[in-house]
Amino acid sequence: MSTATVSPKVAAQHELHITRVFDAPRELVWKVWTDPEHMKNWSGPRQFTATHVENDGRPGGKWRLCLHSDGFDTGDGVMRKLDLWQGGEIREMVAPERLVYTFQWDESTGLGSHETVVTVTLEEHEGKTTMNFHQAFFVTDKDRDGHVRGWNSSFDKLGDYLGELQTKEGLHGKR
């Protein structure tokens, strides 16, 4: 294990961290995250409806869903019918506060079939729920186990961090 300090910006290149506050009690947010009947009503971006939602709902179980669009422009000006299948395995479920699962697109989607790990934690304060969402991009089990957890940096574009590194930090602060 290395002993060098790593710029948070370099670490941020491989994971996603989103925090949201929902005006709803935690139990409800948990239900909506884990119950397939609810999951299909919000999963996916605006242009998609989630069809075919399955969720074993327990650690070690699997989940799967399909994002369907009747007409989606993938960038070339042609409207296409799309069915994007995604799924994974549930790693941890501690109701109503912590959910950890793997997320992977089917190869047929062409979106990159590498597996990512999603961690969702829910905290309630005064009737509102704070959701911390974290998605880590790893490829192999070995890489996953070697990951140092706890980066809490926001995501920046490469150009910004390169610029900032050049004016600010050296690898171990001496340069």
């Binding site: 294990m1 290395s2 002993t3 060098a4 300090t5 790593v6 710029s7 910006k9 370099v10 670490a11 290149q13 491989h14 996603l16 989103i18 949201r20 929902f22 005006d23 709803a24 409800l28 947010v29 909506v32 609810h38 009503n41 919000w42 999963s43 996916g44 971006p45 605006r46 062409g110 979106l111 990159g112 079939s113 590498h114 959701m131 969402f133 998605q135 991009f137 790893f138 490829v139 192999t140 890489d143 996953r144 070697g146 990951h147 140092v148 995501f155 574009k157 490469l158 150009g159 961090y161 390169l162 590194l165 050049q166 050296g170 690898l171 171990h172 340069r175």
Partner: protein, 119 residues
């Protein structure tokens, strides 16, 4: 495209390799200099450099005595763009989640009211 993204993320998944990339962002340098901050053997550092080179994230000079390592920014930029897409994907999903939670609660409140009236 898919393979390159996967290789990039595999390379970035290791903190030592991220530290190496951070140093190279400041300019090209030798393997010895790159290895300096780590309590790690030269062969171990070389292994990391091989992964980075295979992933297309660094270029290494060919002269025997001085093989400078240089950062190649394009794959990292692609990974950054890729993560941008994911971020947008999730933010939109959470917008829908937010609206859905409001809908459920409004419905529950209405039904509760109706229940009270018929009692």
């Amino acid at each position: 495209m898919d393979d390159q993204i996967s290789s990039t993320f595999a390379a970035l998944a290791d903190p030592t390799r991220r530290a190496i990339l951070a140093r190279l962002a400041l300019g090209e340098t030798s393997v010895t200099e790159l290895a300096a901050p780590f309590e790690m053997s030269m062969p171990a550092v070389s292994r990391h450099l091989k992964v980075l080179e295979k992933a297309g994230l660094i270029a290494r000079g060919r002269e025997a005595q001085w093989r400078p390592c240089k950062l190649k920014a394009e794959p990292l930029k692609q990974a950054a763009d890729w993560l941008d897409e994911y971020r947008r994907f999730w933010e939109e999903s959470f917008d829908r989640l937010d609206a859905y939670l409001q809908t459920i609660q409004a419905k529950e409140a209405k039904e509760k009211k109706r229940g009270r009236k018929t009692n």
